[in-house]
């Protein structure tokens, strides 16, 4: 009797001791690059912006195809050439319980120019706003100096912080001079890193941030929208791609970005792993020096016709004649490239050959724009016509750690050029040295990539092929210094056209002009790949962002 009682009691105690764990839905993501800070307005960098969207929201959301959809703003429309009216969502609360109103938008716009030591400021997205009116807490009327069709797109880029949470309770009037609108203190970058000031409206709340180790977010239970199924998400930066893949295979992480091309076959075969992919907006292109009569990276073209004026190594050293000024030479180089072979063999099929600077279907593209057909014989004939029957020597510059397979693509292109008589050697540099060399105009031809943050053709047009002009804000990354005043006029007209249909037509026209003149040679669009546990799905994004917002478990 006693024994039975004791053993029964023991059994009871043992069952009580078995820990009952509530199954918390947790997710761990392995990132390829880590954010430099949690401050949403400190550094306009991809990884920072990815993380920002979980915690801080903007007025407008870019969906997976970069189309604009309502987020904190429920609707918007241009009420005149220079005015935009935004209606804000009601019932949205910040993580500390305070209400979201138009005042918080103004506060954020005042703060952005006041962030100290920003290596890439967000002021480029606020300086178009000259005046902001708040007739009621859920309406914003924004005045711009000139017609500015890109305002809603630019408002999708930065997230809104709370005025009340940062101690500002009275009304704020926006002042475009960038001096803080009369507010004396704003939260510092370190306050965001520690979590003190990290109060937004997003579907996740700040959990923990240890630089270099992890960034933990918890679900926002009071989120205004549908929200997420995950209780906790941990982002771990694992920059070494082999280690990142190993972490996924070992089960340490559930989701990784940027698996290297050589591991894709193995990942495809693994039954526990699924790959999600989508064509991105990132185009890989070749830019050619079209500035002066001579250029530093060629040999065998003879003496230049004329004196070199302006910036660049040829101003002080003897350079040979620049063959890239001749459209026929540029066209020949484009015809020599077998884009399909690069897509197939170098990118493992994970790329789309490009006919212009944005993929089909994006805003401002020409329907049916095809990549240049591969024609090495035609290319040789054109070269001979242009006066180079025996070709010439060329140096192709490329980074080797910036874009997917960048150095390999350059080597393939060098071989293709050599086949038509242009003996090409590749100068592959680490990105810091590559950008420095490119910006000193020491390359005659270089390979680079461009991701259109706005998702429309105005982005590559104004940055890559418009004449470099500081006062008009054009040509920021046009290091080939291509210049076509007629093209500039079309681009500027498009940038000032608020009507969407008219703007799309103008942008398509500008793209046609740029392609017909071979101002730049688009190669292909990267297909972005993510690898994850087979029981998860990801809403793959054209802007290549990795966000827990899009990760869902398969039902």
């Amino acid at each position: 009797m006693k024994i039975r009682f004791v053993s029964f009691a023991a059994a009871l105690v043992m069952t009580a001791m078995v820990p009952v764990t509530a199954s918390a839905a947790e997710l761990t993501v392995g990132l390829a690059s880590e954010p430099s800070a949690i401050d949403p307005h400190y550094h306009n960098l991809g990884p920072n912006n990815e993380m920002r969207r979980h915690i801080f929201e903007s007025l407008v959301w870019q969906d997976e195809q970069q189309k604009l959809t309502p987020l904190l703003a429920t609707s918007w429309e241009p009420t005149s050439e220079t005015t935009w009216e935004f209606k804000l969502r009601k019932g949205v609360k910040f993580h500390d319980g305070s209400d979201f109103t138009a005042r918080d938008f103004v506060y954020t716009a005042c703060r952005i120019p006041m962030v100290p030591n920003s290596p890439s400021s967000f002021t480029i997205y606020t300086r178009a706003m000259k005046k902001i009116e708040t007739p009621d807490p859920h309406t914003l009327i924004i005045h711009t100096e000139k017609p500015y069709p890109l305002l809603p797109v630019e408002l999708a880029v930065w997230g809104i912080i709370s005025a009340t949470a940062n101690g500002v309770t009275e009304d704020i009037t926006y002042n475009p001079d960038g001096m803080g609108c009369g507010i004396t203190t704003f939260p510092q970058t370190k306050d965001f890193n520690s979590g003190e000031a990290t109060i937004g409206t997003g579907m996740f709340k700040y959990g923990e941030y240890i630089k270099g180790d992890r960034y933990v977010m918890n679900r926002n239970e009071d989120y205004w929208g549908e929200g997420t199924e995950w209780d906790k998400v941990t982002f771990k930066p694992i920059t070494n791609s082999a280690a990142r893949v190993a972490a996924l295979l070992a089960g340490d992480v559930d989701f990784i970005s940027k698996p290297p091309t050589q591991d894709l076959e193995r990942l495809e075969k693994d039954p526990n792993v699924t790959l999600s992919s989508i064509g991105s907006n990132r185009v890989i292109y070749l830019h050619m020096d079209q500035y002066g009569p001579s250029t530093p990276g060629v040999k065998g073209t003879g003496k230049p016709e004329g004196k070199y004026e302006g910036e660049g190594p040829c101003a002080t050293t003897d350079c040979e004649k620049n063959p890239l000024l001749d459209r026929r030479v540029r066209k020949a180089l484009s015809m020599a490239i077998n884009r399909e072979a690069i897509v197939d063999k170098v990118m493992g099929g994970y790329a789309v050959a490009a006919g212009e600077l944005l993929p089909q279907g994006f805003f401002g593209t020409n329907a049916g724009a095809k990549p240049e057909p591969y024609d090495p014989e035609g290319a040789k004939k054109l070269l001979a016509e242009a006066g180079y029957p025996n070709g010439f020597e060329l140096v192709l510059g490329t980074p080797n750690d910036r874009y997917i397979n960048d150095a390999k693509i350059a080597q393939a292109i060098a071989q293709m050029f050599t086949r038509i008589g242009v003996k090409t050697s590749v100068n592959a540099l680490t990105k810091s040295v590559f950008f420095a060399t490119r910006n000193k105009y020491e390359f005659s031809i270089y390979l680079a990539g461009w991701g259109a943050g706005t998702g429309e053709m105005s982005s590559p047009m104004r940055a890559l092929v418009a004449t470099r002009d500081k006062s008009r804000g054009l040509g920021g990354t046009n290091r080939g210094r291509y210049s076509n005043p007629a093209l500039d006029d079309v681009i500027l007209e498009a940038l000032a056209t608020v009507d969407d249909d008219k703007r799309a037509a103008l942008l398509a026209k500008s793209s046609r002009m740029a392609m017909e003149d071979y101002s730049i040679l688009p190669l292909h669009f990267e297909v972005t790949i993510w690898a994850h546990r087979a029981d998860l799905t990801y809403g793959a994004r054209a802007d290549q962002y990795t966000m827990a917002i899009g990760i869902k478990s398969k039902k």
Binding site: N44, N117, S121, K190, G212, N240, A243, A246, S432
Partner: protein, 325 residues
């Protein structure tokens, strides 16, 4: 002793100064960090404004002078990328690397010295030869490859240990340490082993050579003649006498392990200062790189100093004046 210390101190100051000039100029010569950090959508006006804001438009000597004046007041500059004082960022990540370094050196000593002694005591046996062959592999195989192989074997195939990252931490005297938690220990084991392999091989070879030399000495024969047990002979007389070269080398290696565990930290995504360094070099984050290297030089100088003192303590025949710095 005092003259020795003062002489050392003056030499250290000169080394630090020369190092700061070299590193500063070196990074300046590569290029402008703005090119890497700035969002490509920014136009020319914004690029120039950012350069001006970070003080990068001034001539290099002005920049260096500003840096020196601040440095002498203890401010080694703010990182371009992180917008926090460079020194504070390094100090935050130092405990992680120290854990790894001490773990690695600990493993090297615990395994290396006994293995080396066994190889020295029984040089012709299979065990002895096996240990020596293993040590050759230890210092010839690249750390990168060994690290990935360890991950493949223990994490992916066997699933015994985690593949990367640091485990849970607890606070000890105000510093976050991970070796006091079981989770932390499982995370530290593979990277520490990876880092230790090279040192272990060095220690094995040094211990073996030292053991073979010491075993032939007269005092060993005398100790045996006195009737001491073999275990005591080995544990006391042999061990102590082979320690001098081992301590010297380990001291130097400890410095380099702390400063340059870059490869292991990158492969295992260990959030230490080695990884911070390589990322900062890639971003041309000059204040961080300069601060880091100055710290490293100071650390090497201190370690060297301590090793020399230890040397003189271990071997009373050595006078400090004889030790050339």
């Amino acid at each position: 002793m005092l003259a020795f210390t003062i002489r050392r101190f003056l030499q250290s100051v000169i080394v630090l100064f020369v190092m700061s000039v070299i590193v500063f100029l070196g990074i300046y010569a590569i290029g402008n960090p703005v090119d890497i950090l700035i969002n490509p959508e920014a136009d020319i006006a914004e690029q120039e404004e950012t350069i001006r804001r970070l003080g990068l438009d001034k001539p290099v000597w002005t920049q260096y002078f500003t840096f020196m004046t601040n440095a002498l007041q203890g401010d080694l500059g703010g990182s371009f990328v992180h917008n926090e004082p460079a020194l504070r960022i390094i100090m935050e990540r130092l405990p992680a690397t120290m854990e790894l370094a001490i773990g690695a050196v600990g493993l090297a000593i615990l395994i290396g010295i006994p293995a080396g002694m066994i190889a020295g005591l029984k040089p012709e046996s299979i065990v002895g030869r096996g240990i020596m062959a293993g040590s050759i592999l230890g210092f010839s195989l690249p750390t990168f490859w060994v690290g990935l192989m360890l991950i493949m074997l223990f994490s992916v195939m066997l699933g015994w240990l985690p593949a990367s990252g640091r485990g849970d931490t607890v606070e000890l005297f105000g510093i976050q340490v991970s070796f006091l938690t079981w989770d932390g220990l499982t995370h530290i084991f593979l990277p520490a082993l990876n880092l230790a392999l090279f040192k272990m091989s060095l220690v094995i070879r040094l211990s073996r050579a030292g053991t073979r030399e010491v075993m032939l000495q007269d005092y060993i024969k005398f100790a045996r003649a006195k009737g001491l047990s073999e275990v005591r002979v080995i544990r006391v007389h042999v061990l102590k006498n082979i320690l001098i070269p081992v301590v010297t080398v380990l001291g130097l290696e400890l410095g380099s392990v702390i400063a340059f565990a870059v490869v292991t930290e990158t492969v295992f995504a260990w959030p230490g200062i080695g990884k911070l360094l390589i990322d900062s070099i890639g971003n041309l984050d000059r204040p961080l790189v300069v601060a880091y290297l100055l710290l490293t030089v100071t650390m090497f100088i201190i370690i060297n100093f301590v090793v020399d003192i230890l040397y003189s303590l271990l071997d009373p025949r050595v006078r400090l004046g004889d030790v050339k710095s």
